[in-house]
């Protein structure tokens, strides 16, 4: 009986397994091998054991980039809260809902290049909207991307604007909350806030879990915006030298592919540990309707 369930389960997952063996296994294994090599891209790799890893431990930019990336984790709880809040707002029966939803989703589909240019302009210390707004409120102007203390918060602000992308996932989740639960709670005398806390949030907790885990994995690999928007690369005093950015530089600018692969695998281990931790704690706050 058990083996029959095993076979059925594997059968459903088989497309992924096959795909993994064909498309993913070799590149991942190769990258691990490269991490143990001195690989200059244009010449064949040469095995050097753990030399890359020990060099990384002594590399100040490595630690700097790790810290920079860790800082960005502040964004995660804010983004999740904002995403849920916005989705709940859009789940109401108000007129013009399709219009509002489209508007909220726009940031997710404007091409990255246009978005980055826009934010470069918004954060411009002399001409930009951000400082203009601060001035209006009587606050001092900030350096934003040019100032090491405000450069990372600037990126966080920019990401939060893109929260609409996650919104449709939350929206789809909210749609799935059974109406009868809301009705039952209302009958029991629960006010709207209590309903949110005890009915809505637990009902969509599996999706929240998803967003937290993927958000975390994404933050570990945060790279594109910093690449486009900082010049010199890495920002003022390397305040925005994120881990994946430094990885990219090593791989394709300095031709230290082995070194970059070692960085990649360290990142992998860190992500894995973080994910497993979140999984472990999930039993306490994630509620699956089917009770498993």
């Amino acid at each position: 009986m058990k083996s029959r369930r095993l076979i059925t389960g594997l059968l459903f997952v088989s497309p992924w397994i096959v795909g993994f063996l064909i498309f993913t296994f070799y590149p991942i294994a190769a990258s691990f091998y490269y991490s143990l090599c001195d690989y200059r891209v244009l010449s064949p790799p040469r095995f050097v054991g753990l030399a890359n890893y020990s060099m990384l431990a002594r590399d100040q930019y490595f630690w700097r980039s790790l810290l920079n990336t860790a800082f960005m984790f502040i964004e995660l709880p804010i983004a999740v809260a904002l995403g849920i809040g916005v989705a709940m707002l859009l789940n109401q029966a108000v007129k013009g809902l399709p219009f509002f939803r489209t508007v909220f989703y726009l940031p997710a589909i404007v091409p990255t290049v246009a978005v980055s240019m826009l934010w470069l302009w918004i954060f411009n210390p002399d001409l930009g909207l951000a400082n203009a707004g601060l001035e209006r409120l009587g606050l001092p102007r900030l350096g934003w991307l040019v100032d090491p203390t405000t450069s990372k918060p600037a990126f966080i602000l920019m990401d939060l604007w893109g929260v609409g992308g996650g919104m449709i996932i939350y929206l789809a989740a909210l749609q799935g909350v059974p109406q009868h639960l809301h009705e039952a709670a209302a009958l029991d005398g629960a006010g709207p806030l209590q309903r949110v806390r005890h009915v809505t949030l637990p009902a969509i907790s599996p999706v929240i879990f998803f967003m937290v885990v993927t958000g975390m994995i994404g933050l570990f690999q945060y790279f594109t915006q910093a690449w486009i928007m900082t010049n010199p690369r890495g920002g003022p005093e390397h305040s925005t030298l994120f881990y994946a950015l430094y990885l990219f530089q090593n791989a394709f600018e300095y031709f230290k592919m082995g070194y970059a692969c070692a960085m990649g695998w360290i990142l992998f281990v860190l992500s894995l540990i973080a994910t497993v931790l979140v999984f472990r704690t999930s039993a306490r706050w994630v509620y699956y309707e089917e009770g498993r």
Binding site: V113, L120, F223, N231
Partner: protein, 505 residues
């Protein structure tokens, strides 16, 4: 019947899709029969790509053995490296960022040109000095530019007039420049900059102006902390400080959006003087034809008058990969580009300085319009024997990145110039040693390419004849350094998508 109607739209959709997918499409001309097809990859896009393809078409018309086909790499050099690693590079390619030439050479990924040049190239003395020097590594030449870049000093005559300076008298020495710049700086009451006197160039250019050094190719030593370099960095840091301090200057520079747009600070009277390449007059005509400006040779430090006329040379870099299927034909094209007609053709649309001394004075390029006259000034500057460039080393990307860091630290007073440059030297030297320790293996690739000659190993001491370019190190840069940086940024957009996938980031 019901089911049939339901299925119909799906079937139509599939049919339409298949038809669309099977539609044969071809862009660009098809090669006439009987010709050898040579593939070239270049980084140019947009107008510049059109300009290059005009040159390609002219080459195809000029002979009937070879048909050259261009593909744009969209300024992404990694595309070329992947192709080289996979063993399927094109027959000829242009490296967008010159910093990669040293690494390509050190790994024997590209062929040296020397025997070809010796056999049927123009004699070296017909070239501008820097043009061949840019691609030189370990005594051999690995890249050829079609055109080169040369830098000059530009000043806004309107701003000079408004500040009470004689608009026809630009600064000749760096000291004069400093004095004038500080008087041309305008600040707002809250201390932010309204106008900058001198737009700060990158450190490499200044090092050249101060007569500094980058690299000793014989001893394989990085010379980042050469005393003249320290002087250059000190001057740079002082200028930044005097004009408002690092944060204010950076904010100001960040302020004008696009480099290549009507809003550049030089065009709106917010920058009095700046260094730029020979493309600048064309930008003026395109974005701000109403301004009155001048162009002159770069200033020199007054304690070193022998450096007068120094300029900074960059270029675009064509290389022939080891695995090229048609290296001889690829060389034919490069040879063709170094003829007066081909040079004039490309230079008139690309606004690059011709490689060949004979073409530098060409009336078609340097007389007539205001642009041409300004361009002519820069061409004359480029011919000066004091021209210098950044030499090719396998670690140029790191080197330049570290120099930028040094500027940041020195300008913000986190380190002294000596300390900053010393750290640069240590770090880059360490990396260089590691790279050179691993001598390029005579891999399977190499044996296929003894058509020309055996590749040089980096530790071979090569004796240089007197006619070789200067070896105190010059400067090497890809096309248009400042816009390149901006554009490189954009070229990398969406790379994160595959991994990040809209996870609300």
């Amino acid at each position: 019947m019901q089911r049939f109607v339901g299925i119909l739209p799906i079937m139509l959709g599939i049919a339409a899709f298949v038809a669309m997918a099977a539609w044969p499409v071809q862009l660009g001309p098809s090669p006439p029969p009987g010709r050898v097809v040579v593939r070239v990859w270049s980084g140019w896009t947009g107008h510049e790509k059109e300009a290059f393809e005009k040159a390609v078409a002219a080459f195809n018309r000029s002979q009937n053995r070879i048909f050259l086909v261009n593909t744009s790499t969209e300024e992404d050099d990694t595309k070329i490296f992947r192709a080289i690693t996979a063993g399927t590079p094109p027959d000829l390619f242009q490296v967008w960022s010159g910093e990669y030439v040293g690494a390509l050479a050190a790994n024997n990924a590209v062929m040296p040109f020397d025997p070809l040049l010796a056999r049927d190239g123009p004699p070296r003395k017909e070239f501008i000095q820097g043009s061949l020097g840019l691609g030189e590594y370990e005594g051999r030449h690995y890249s050829m530019p079609y055109l080169i870049d040369a830098y000059a000093l530009y000043w806004n005559k309107d701003v000079f007039r408004a500040a009470g300076f004689d608009p026809e008298k630009p600064p000749r020495t760096l000291e004069e420049l400093q004095r004038m710049a500080l008087r041309l700086v305008k600040k707002r009451p809250d201390g932010t900059l309204e106008r900058i006197g001198f737009e700060m160039p990158s450190l490499e250019i200044l090092i050249v102006l101060f007569g500094g050094k980058f690299y000793d190719p014989v001893a394989h030593r990085i010379l980042a902390d050469d005393p003249r370099n320290v002087e250059a960095l000190r001057w740079l840091a002082r200028m930044i400080d005097a004009q408002g301090g690092a944060v204010r200057v950076d904010s100001f520079t960040a302020g004008f959006g696009e480099y290549a747009s009507p809003n550049h600070q030089f065009f709106v009277g917010k920058a009095a003087m700046m260094l730029s390449g020979q493309w600048w007059p064309s930008y003026v005509e395109k974005f701000a034809p109403h301004i009155d400006y001048g162009v002159c040779p770069l200033p020199y430090p007054s304690e070193h008058p022998e450096l007068e006329g120094t300029t900074y040379i960059g270029g675009n870099f064509f290389c022939i990969p080891k695995e090229s299927r048609h290296p001889k034909e690829a060389w034919q094209f490069l040879r063709w580009t170094q003829t007066p007609r081909a040079q004039e053709l490309f230079s008139s649309v690309m606004h690059g300085v011709p490689n060949m001394l004979a073409v530098l004075g060409s009336p078609r390029l340097t007389t007539g319009s205001r642009h041409n006259r300004a361009f002519g000034v820069v061409c004359r500057i480029a011919a000066n024997p004091n021209a210098r460039w950044f030499p090719a080393t396998p670690v140029n990307n790191l080197y330049i990145s570290e120099l930028n860091t040094a500027v940041q630290l020195a300008a913000r007073n986190k380190k002294t110039p000596e300390q900053a440059l010393h750290d640069v030297r240590v770090r880059v030297q360490q990396e260089l040693d590691r790279v050179l320790m691993v001598a390029p293996r005579q891999s399977a690739h190499a044996s296929r390419f003894s058509r020309l000659e055996q590749p040089a190993r980096p530790h071979d001491r090569v004796t240089l004849s007197a006619s070789e370019g200067s070896h105190d190190g010059g400067i090497l840069r890809g096309v248009h350094p400042e816009p390149k940086r901006e554009i490189l940024r954009f070229a990398q957009n969406d790379r994160g998508r595959r991994a990040q996938k809209d996870i609300g980031e």
